[in-house]
Symmetry: C2
Subunit: 222 residues, 2 copies
């Protein structure tokens, strides 16, 4: 394994350990000592990648942003739905995504800047809504930035409610319900008619992405 690959792998190991510890204790109570023990790496290795608990948390928060893409869709409304439903699916299945979302809503993390995920999600959604608007998919009164904020904020709450009431068992249903309430006032009915808004959409998109990755395996790197 090349030196760089090893470094990337170590960084990932540390981030996964940090995600686990932050999810268990919250930001305030988590300690670097416990993250070290969980990761099974040396102190030197950890401090090579992250200088502080805050940097570890920002690393976990930042991992969400790496996962905000799906393949390009002709219909930008479908692409918005797909990113949201995929994120809901990952919340149920990927500890890193779950830890990131929890950190961004951790109101006890006083000295941690938690605005990153909200702002990044906001930018991704604003960009897609602007493309949808340019293609004539949106109703004339929509301001992409405002609608993007509504989508991001309301998603954050619906996932928190699903976590509190069913430990994410009903997440896909709740997110669909949210989108079916919001989108008819954002997107033209003629566009919405051909958008897949079913609760299984997240799994479908996830499978599609996994197949794309599989087909790339075997290509030698570096």
């Amino acid at each position: 394994m090349a030196k760089q690959d090893r470094a990337i792998r170590t960084r990932q190991t540390i981030l996964s350990a940090a995600a686990k510890v932050f999810e268990k204790h919250g930001y305030q109570a988590a300690t670097i000592t416990e993250i070290l023990a969980e990761a099974g790496v040396t102190k030197g290795a950890l401090y090579f990648h992250f200088q502080s608990k805050e940097e570890l948390a920002q690393g976990v928060l930042g991992e969400q942003d790496q996962r905000l893409t799906v393949s390009d869709r002709a219909c930008k409304t479908q692409e918005i739905v797909d990113i949201i439903m995929l994120h809901a699916h990952r919340l149920q299945t990927d500890p890193m995504v779950r830890a990131g979302v929890r950190l961004s809503l951790d109101q006890q993390a006083h000295d941690l800047d938690r605005s990153g995920p909200f702002l990044n999600w906001g930018e991704v959604m604003t960009g897609l809504l602007e493309k949808a608007q340019a293609q004539g998919e949106l109703l004339p009164h929509i301001l992409p930035r405002e609608t993007s904020d509504v989508l991001v904020g309301s998603f954050a709450g619906v996932q928190a409610m699903s976590q509190a009431l069913s430990n994410y068992q009903d997440l896909a249903l709740r997110v669909c319900s949210l989108l079916r309430h919001l989108l008819p006032n954002v997107v033209l009915a003629s566009v919405l008619a051909s958008v897949d808004l079913s609760p299984t959409r997240g799994v479908t998109v996830f499978t599609e992405l996994a197949e794309d990755l599989d087909s790339e395996v075997g290509v030698p790197v570096g």
Copy 2:
């Protein structure tokens, strides 16, 4: 002061102290010792009202439910808007409401049942939506229970986003924006046309309630 009044006042003092401590440290890290010190009451007085930290937290969570009413409106859609905007205003101004909302979203409070506020808000909203439906205010496809869940969940997230990005400075604007996205797909346009959805609505309703309370002062009780 009658004995009963004193007990009610002591209970309120303890709950206010608990709210302050939970808001500062989160549920997990908060201790009864600190709540005692903050309240300035005896251990006996505290345990007379609350047997455990969990009971204290449920007390704070429950205080939200006492504040879910405004005076009856002829238009039930306006009543729904008013309760939501009043709650937003109280989140900015009332430490007890803020502590309750934070506790209900405290994902580190593993052994605390946080479903209460979601379920109670859900019931209040469902009841009002059913009345609105019976009066013919709603679009024909609306299921009050489902729409209620969307309103409650999305509000929770929009307030969390406002807290993370502006420490609640932009809360009224964000909540209005949410309602202007959701309600046109829930309520008849002809009804919505005469609903006050302005960002200052929360303050207006709060002032109205305070005046109602003032006019009751002076009536001797008990």
